[in-house]
């Protein structure tokens, strides 16, 4: 009798790695070396799934109750296993310690903002988008960036992440934050990334 650990394509079109069909993958391991492997694989899986579905937040509730947008990954109905909330908290803490996620809002540990792109990388994406769509030197509101009329790589980006990316660009004089009528706006300026 052989149980074969194989990959699986989810309804959303995501290819789950074979380790996801391994029953003990869902249990927090008492052996630290083994758990390091487990954590690393969960981290990779979470970030790559988040990128696939453009998910920005992961909450402990997602592991607690069925019906979240994370079900495909946090549960495996084929082998009847699910990631336990305590195990997920552990993985989230590890991701935060490696800057692969941040607690958002700060001073709580139940929700993380995922860094499937680092803020530095978002800054580049943002500047690249502004220049390729000929919006340098014009004033854009945060809302226009988050909900652009034409979908962009920035569509749906959480305001806090956007603010961080803009802050990185202002440091190198590639953006200016400007007060506008209904809140904040930003003007992107040409310029090369500072080295």
């Amino acid at each position: 009798m052989t149980t074969s650990m194989s990959t699986h394509t989810t309804p959303s079109g995501y290819l789950l790695p074979s380790i996801h069909s391994m029953p003990p993958f869902f249990t927090q391991q008492p052996n630290p070396a083994t758990q390091a492997t487990v954590t690393e694989n969960w981290t990779r899986l979470i970030l790559s799934y988040a990128r696939h579905r453009r998910l920005f937040y992961l909450r402990v509730e997602d592991a607690e109750t069925k019906g979240s947008e994370w079900d495909e990954v946090l549960r495996n109905e084929r082998i009847n296993r699910r990631l336990m909330p305590s195990h997920m908290s552990f993985i989230m803490a590890d991701m935060v310690s490696k800057n692969l996620a941040v607690y958002e809002p700060p001073r709580q540990t139940r929700t993380v903002l995922l860094h499937w792109r680092l803020p530095e990388e978002w800054a580049e994406v943002l500047h690249e988008w502004a220049s390729s769509t000929a919006q340098l030197n014009t004033i854009l509101t945060f809302y226009e960036i988050i909900e652009p009329p034409v979908p962009s790589p920035l569509s749906g980006i959480p305001a806090t992440l956007l603010r961080r990316a803009v802050a990185i660009l202002t440091k190198t004089n590639r953006a200016q934050v400007i007060a506008v009528a209904d809140g904040e706006g930003v003007r992107f300026l040409p310029g090369n990334p500072a080295r």
Partner: protein
């Protein structure tokens, strides 16, 4: 009284004369033998070169032919990998040394890259499958025997690669220098039969172990050796142990 060697001072002369003659003759004879040996060796070499030229590809590509060849080498007491220099001319001519070392490197590659999930223990069939995959179609078919032979050539590296017999004709390859005790071998054998899953109850029911003994063996493998993983959501027992090296992985 008549002596063959004569008497007096002349006898000495004659004796040394004889010695010289014998020495000359002896040199001549041994020279002849050496020449003959050289001739034989040259013939053997050319025969071997011919053999190598004709059969090298078969040896490298056809596992059955390779095994027949290796059996032949063993029966005449020749190691196709050994020689005065690295590999030796035997190995050089056949290119078998390179072939064997290359396989060794691939074995190490697979063992090391799967180590984090299997704790340094891999089932032979799985190893052969992954190595074959690494070699691609051009690498030709390799078998368990080839892997075992290559692991022997890795021995001088002292990395602790070893082939373990876990019973029921199943073999595993260990790539970390850890000692497996008899109980662990039993656990591995059961894991093999069960596609990787082992529980305390299984060991108690099938091997007549006490719960304490079963738990100790499993906990050692879990905590000390990292050879198995814990599953706290097992539908039958609540808790089960999984041995990744006994599971089949489709990458």
């Amino acid at each position: 009284m008549h002596r063959l060697g004569g008497v007096g001072i002349a006898a000495f002369d004659r004796q040394s004369q004889q010695k010289r003659s014998f020495a000359e003759l002896s040199t001549e004879i041994s020279q002849g033998q050496v020449d003959l040996l050289h001739a034989q060796l040259a013939q053997f070499r050319s025969a071997l070169a011919h053999y190598a030229a004709t059969h090298r590809d078969s040896i490298r590509d056809d596992p059955q032919f390779r095994h027949a060849f290796q059996r032949m080498c063993t029966s005449i007491g020749v190691d196709p990998l050994a020689g005065p220099r690295k590999g030796g001319w035997w190995a050089e001519m056949l290119n078998l040394g390179d072939w064997q070392y290359e396989l060794g490197v691939q074995i190490v590659d697979v063992c090391v890259s799967t180590r984090e999930r299997n704790g340094g223990l891999i089932e032979m069939g799985e190893l052969v499958r992954l190595v074959s995959k690494l070699r691609g179609v051009k690498g030709g078919v390799i078998t368990e025997d080839d892997v075992i032979r290559s692991i022997k050539t890795l021995k001088p590296l002292g990395a602790g690669y070893e082939v373990l017999d876990v019973g029921a004709g199943k073999k595993m390859v260990r790539s970390v220098p850890k000692q497996l005790d008899a109980d662990q071998a039993v656990v591995l054998a059961i894991a093999q039969e069960e596609g990787g899953r082992v529980s305390e109850t299984m060991l108690v029911q099938r091997r007549g172990w006490t719960h304490e003994r079963a738990r100790a063996a499993l906990e050692n493998m879990l905590l000390r050796d990292g050879l198995c993983w814990l599953d706290e959501q097992d539908p039958e027992q609540g808790v089960a142990y999984w041995v990744p090296s006994a599971m089949q992985w489709d990458e």
